[in-house]
Symmetry: C2
Subunit: 368 residues, 2 copies
């Protein structure tokens, strides 16, 4: 299935080129699960554990057992401001010039979502109802932050493992809300709009269709197979309303996208029932990653459309509800983005996406 | 000098926003130099050491002592094809469609520049004449690869340390030549052209002027200093024809750019005398990094204008010789780009660029 000759694949949404270069790649052996090193002192001091609530700023939101007072223990998920915020809520937004440079003060929000009172139980090992609480917590904060029309974009993201940038072991995600639409989104928004205006509808809906209903094989001049595409070849998991797949031009061996099958422009459109299902597929995918790769470091983030309550100022995005399709991108850090990726913006992926999907699909996990 | 309130800085060339958030940053203590772990077996097997020339594909270029035959020992620098190329030289360039996706075969070159016969002496500890040979070797290969008009872009880059993606300890750089202009360059080319067409000349020349001749201080509404800029505040090192500085919107604490003071569009325009000087400033900067941070992992790459021998097909780049200014970008990996950076394309830098420059400037190194 995999090719020895390197191929260049273009991601239709980002426009990014990826080199699929499988000469070195082999199927991983099931490894021993990786453990994060942590001193007993660091563990005892953890500001996200029960009894240490006073070590964080006062809570913004919690899901609690009945009758517990705020900022006490007894919570099931807990959201607090980041103690070292990249953004604080300042009274003014100021765009200034310093000679040829632009500078702005950092109006915005930076929150921490503590996923569970348990210090080292991660999403894949949590019971489904707790994963649903985590997803519901992201949703509640996302909805609330969009009430501030100055905040154009809300980004939920997670770093798992020190090598992926997590500075604390206790499982948590983060939410940053900004007054600018981030560059990574601008690229997607502009490509999605162009695709839509070209009469071809939502570019993610088309990709889902292609994944389910398309087969093709393309040959090299010497008769060898350049690329083979068959139905569901990049599918990792599926539920009634969601799919998890490896994108055609994945930047890393285990880049996994989760998206709703039916068009929705924002994560905030999900119903409570859909979030139960989303929690299930997220748990399934992360358990497959855990079992295949042994608790590797990873990052994920949710890409929704920008805050539509600021729509009057967003003339560029008139068709956004139709052209943008929200999704989660998981990047499992089995490779390092080095000088070539930084210098070129082109990514080298040593594993064919079809093979990556097959390895993950074959990992059995309990039904949730 | 540094600010506690986070600032957003916009890089004028990439258009990228960077958050300078210094709440957590402190001046580093001079650390013990970091050593790469390597087994005696791996070291004994190293394919880049003298006597192992047959373990690599046949050499493309060497600088040798007089009279040594090719592919024998006795070389001072040596260039060989990458054994696991991301690109190979294929007979055809093919752009094909697979449903909605685009795919191309990987025409191009992927070479390894072995910097020295010495297994663990890095640039900063090499004698100046050897660093000049390394820089000359990059130059020779860059010039030669541009003779192929199908190769639109030549990228010289280096990964130092395993955490920065180096898979072998023996010091080496890599060169990739591609049939597409990489995305990272397209963004710079288009912004540089726009700046030039706006009548303001080369955007890098203007930045050099601002660094040398501009001072300003901007206050917050509460009277505290938002940002202070003074002459040479971000300068790290300087020679007659080159400067090394921290950019205004640095993505990482120790992002360092080296560029010629006088406008040149490509590294291939440098004279032999200028390359002696460039080798000197590169050695100086890397020695400062080594002393301040203790042999940290880093990446660097050279950004030149694309191959102008394909100019007839590059109508977009008519003013490129005037608007693009070649430079080296060094990224010292003291921070991890995590879910926020990946999901937003915005970077969080915990150290004020002025402070970073000052720390490096104060490190004394021998004159070269």
């Amino acid at each position: 299935m995999s090719n020895i000759n390197p191929e260049l694949r273009k991601d239709p949404i980002s426009g990014r080129w990826v080199i699929i270069s499988t000469a070195r790649a082999e199927r991983p052996d099931p490894p021993e699960p990786r453990r994060e090193e942590e001193t007993p002192e660091a563990r005892a001091r953890c500001p996200f554990c029960y009894g240490h609530e006073e070590q964080t700023p006062p809570e913004i939101f919690t899901i609690r057992k009945n009758g517990e007072p705020p900022n006490s223990s007894g919570w099931l998920t807990r959201v607090v401001p980041n103690k070292f915020p990249a953004f604080g809520i300042f009274p003014e937004i100021n765009l200034r010039r310093v000679g040829m440079f632009q500078i702005a003060t950092g109006y915005g929000a930076h929150e921490v979502v503590i996923e569970s009172p348990e210090h080292d139980i991660y999403i894949e090992h949590q019971p489904p109802e707790q994963v649903t609480r985590i997803v519901d917590t992201w949703w509640e904060r996302h909805v609330d932050l969009e009430r501030d029309p100055k905040l154009k974009y809300v980004l939920v993201f997670k770093n798992h493992g020190r090598a992926a940038g997590a500075s604390l072991t206790h499982p948590h995600a983060q939410i940053i809300a900004t007054t600018v639409v981030p560059d990574a989104l601008k690229v997607k928004l502009s490509r999605a709009k162009k695709h839509y205006e070209g009469g071809e509808g939502c570019i993610w809906c088309r990709q889902i269709e292609q994944l389910f209903y398309y087969e093709n094989r393309i040959y090299n001049p010497d008769g060898s197979v350049l690329v083979e595409v068959y139905q569901r070849d990049r599918l990792v998991a599926e539920s009634d309303n969601f799919i998890a797949c490896i994108p055609f031009a994945a930047r890393m061996p285990y880049e996994i996208h989760i998206l709703p099958k039916t068009h929705q422009h924002s994560f905030i459109q999900t119903t409570p029932e859909e979030r139960v299902e989303l929690a299930g597929i997220l748990k399934t995918v992360l358990m497959k990653v855990y079992k295949l790769l042994g608790n590797p470091p990873y990052n994920f983030y949710i890409h929704s459309a920008p805050n539509l309550s600021v729509r009057p100022r967003m003339g560029n995005y008139m068709t956004i509800k139709e052209d943008f399709h929200w999704h989660i991108e998981i990047l499992v850090r089995t490779t390092i983005w080095a000088g070539f990726e930084q210098g070129s913006g082109i990514y080298i992926n040593p594993l064919n996406p079809t093979d990556a999907a097959r390895y993950l699909k074959e990992i059995e996990v309990d039904e949730v």
